[in-house]
Amino acid sequence: MSGFSPNPDQNFGVRIQEALGNEELRESFHGAMTFLREKRRQQFPDPDALDALRTRGAAIRERALAQLPDLLEQLEGQCQHNGIRVHWAEDAAEANEIITGIARKTGGKRVVKGKSMATEEIGLNTAFENAGFSCLESDMGEYIVQQAHETPSHIIMPAIHRNKASIARQFAEQIPDTPYTEDVDELIGIGRRVLRRAFADADIGISGVNFAIAETGTLCLVENEGNGRMSTTVPDTHIAVMGIEKVIEKLSDLPDLYRLLTRSATGQPITTYLNLISGPRKPDEIDGPRQVHLVLLDNGRSRIYADRQLRETLRCIRCGACMNHCPVYERLGGHAYGTVYPGPIGQVVMPQLLGLDKAGKLTQACSLNGACGEACPVKIPLPDLIRRLRHDGVSRTDSPVRGQGKQRKWIEATIWATWLSIHTHPRLYRLSTLMATRLRRLMPPLPRAWTRHRSPLRPAARTLHETLQQRERARQKESAREQ
């Protein structure tokens, strides 16, 4: 049950209307985003220090990407050396096949999963269901969302769109012998009890990867609830899934990125758990998984990598700060986008993953205000990338992004062609603006899209061009008279 649309452009307008019309949802997001922004702000009191840290973070990611093929090979070698089996998946289908294949071989049936956006991206839960496995989400937010047959609405806080009353109702209805309570600690306690049993019974644990260190073959997993540690240590088999861009060069690269990730994501100086996974249980150890697998997922990333500008997309460390700072995301929430990755990073990633014909319209939901780029801990120029994808969507020039030109509509192209011919002929421009001022009382007000929410705009009585031309003429007359 991945639930995400392969064609998010379809009905995007309808989802926007629904989101804007849902007062409760807007209130939830406004409150949560304001809270998260404030927490992050408190973690970065010194703007210069923040900028220096972001510059280092960007450089680390840039350096890793510059040598991506080599680092992946090194990672594979080091992981194998540590006893981790490495698999390469070209796309979602192949990844799912590999993962369900490994699971089948274990003979087990029960799967628990830590929070992982890469597995959301490939729709792993559906693949497991189809293959006859039960796969339980063990992150509290993901658990709530999965139980309600929903999709995550935020990459860090999947159930941020839900309030406690609706979760209380859900738990009371769906978990046997559960009384209705709106006490948050009690609700978490209820969920934890279910998950505890699931951990103990699980045969296979699935996790994502926040960073993979090529130098040491270590998989880093950042989390707060301990479900990541349980999913990766209790079951006999651990399968980690990561996008190929998540590799970093050295262990010494980790502290800066970790610092940036936790502070940017949840405003925490440090998370409760930082798991550094370096292999399966060793012969003399009494616990830990007996086998550890790493699935390296491409799923369109190589195509992104081939383009110098688009490659900046791959710096992302999936902290969610861009969505927390996006005024559009705050008003729509994650579901309106209809995509695995919502908000600014989603508007950049999804058209590249699905094609501009399927997700190009998402790029329009942006006022290019720049708040996302300013918040990004690794300085991804998100507004520039959104603009670039808008360009690829309407142009016929070479682009590695599929579906290029598919957003081009003749009416818009005609408007810009007309606009251009007026604005490149200064005399024609002055004539048109002059006409606009002379006919200002008769002119139809700006489009209804504007006037539905704002008073109509009327041109001034005289343009600046005309005012200055008249002033110039008067001055010339004056000086002629003086002579």
């Binding site: 006022s367 290019l368 200064p426």
Partner: protein
């Protein structure tokens, strides 16, 4: 550029040209008052930002060439808008990369100033308030704040006015929802954004709304007026600064 500046170009912007010429004249007067000769090439039209932000780079490039050729003297170019200034300073070099005019675009970028940045940082003007006590609310555009980083210039000039109490709306750093074509293409999202901005602006209890970007001004003030015909008036910062310091202050 010569060390002493005696002449500057004025890039009026298309929005000011048609809808807010008074703001343009006020800006020119502020510059002339400092003894500068202000050149206004009649061949200027727009900076090309609307097609550029819509992805129509070729159209934007054609306009950029025209701007580069029209403003070719090695003197500062003063722009009374953070957004258009950002287009000229930040985006032309990227847009014109690989074009025969690339060098000229880079050179032009170094000559571009947002009006209040120029008045404050380069001319270092001092203002004497001649008006009655009043309270204003200042909205800094996202491009002035993030792209041009000139937010403090406008506010510093404003704070020189002794009788003016300057407020900023709550969540001042949040976009007002204008975004050029965004306001039309995603009009309902834009409306939700400007509704919040209006509430924050009204909550300040100020009597005048100011901004140094006419796009935001036309969006926020248009929405304020749509709700209430008695809404507070809006002015471009240049108009307000001139009015408060030129003896006809009210």
């Amino acid at each position: 550029m010569s060390p002493t500046i005696d002449r500057v170009y004025f890039f009026g912007t298309c929005l000011i040209d048609v809808f807010y010429p008074g703001a343009g004249m006020a800006a020119i007067t502020l510059l002339e008052r400092e003894g500068l000769e202000v050149l206004f090439p009649q061949a200027q039209t727009c900076c090309g930002q609307p097609p550029y932000n819509s992805g129509y780079d070729d159209e934007a490039r054609t306009i950029a060439r025209q701007v580069i050729e029209t403003f070719d003297l090695p003197i500062p170019i003063i722009v009374p808008s953070g957004s258009c200034a950002g287009m000229l300073r930040k985006h032309y070099p990227a847009l014109m990369a690989g074009d025969p005019l690339e060098e000229k675009a880079n050179q032009l970028a170094t000559r571009v100033y947002e009006l209040h940045e120029f008045l404050h940082r380069v001319l270092n003007i001092t203002l004497e308030d001649q008006g009655k006590p009043t309270r204003v609310v200042m909205h800094t555009s996202c491009s002035a704040r993030r792209e041009m980083e000139v937010m403090d210039d406008g506010l510093s000039l404003l704070r020189q006015l002794g009788n003016v109490e300057v407020c900023e709306p709550e969540n001042a750093e949040t976009c007002c929802g204008f975004g050029g074509t965004f306001a039309v293409k995603m009009s309902d999202v834009s409306a939700a954004m400007v509704a919040d901005k209006c509430a924050a602006v009204n909550a300040t209890g100020a009597s005048t709304l100011l901004s140094s970007d006419c796009g935001c001004l036309m969006n926020i003030h248009g929405a304020l007026e749509h709700r209430n015909s008695d809404a507070m008036p809006a002015e471009h910062l240049a108009e307000f600064l001139l009015r408060r310091t030129s003896g006809d202050a009210s």
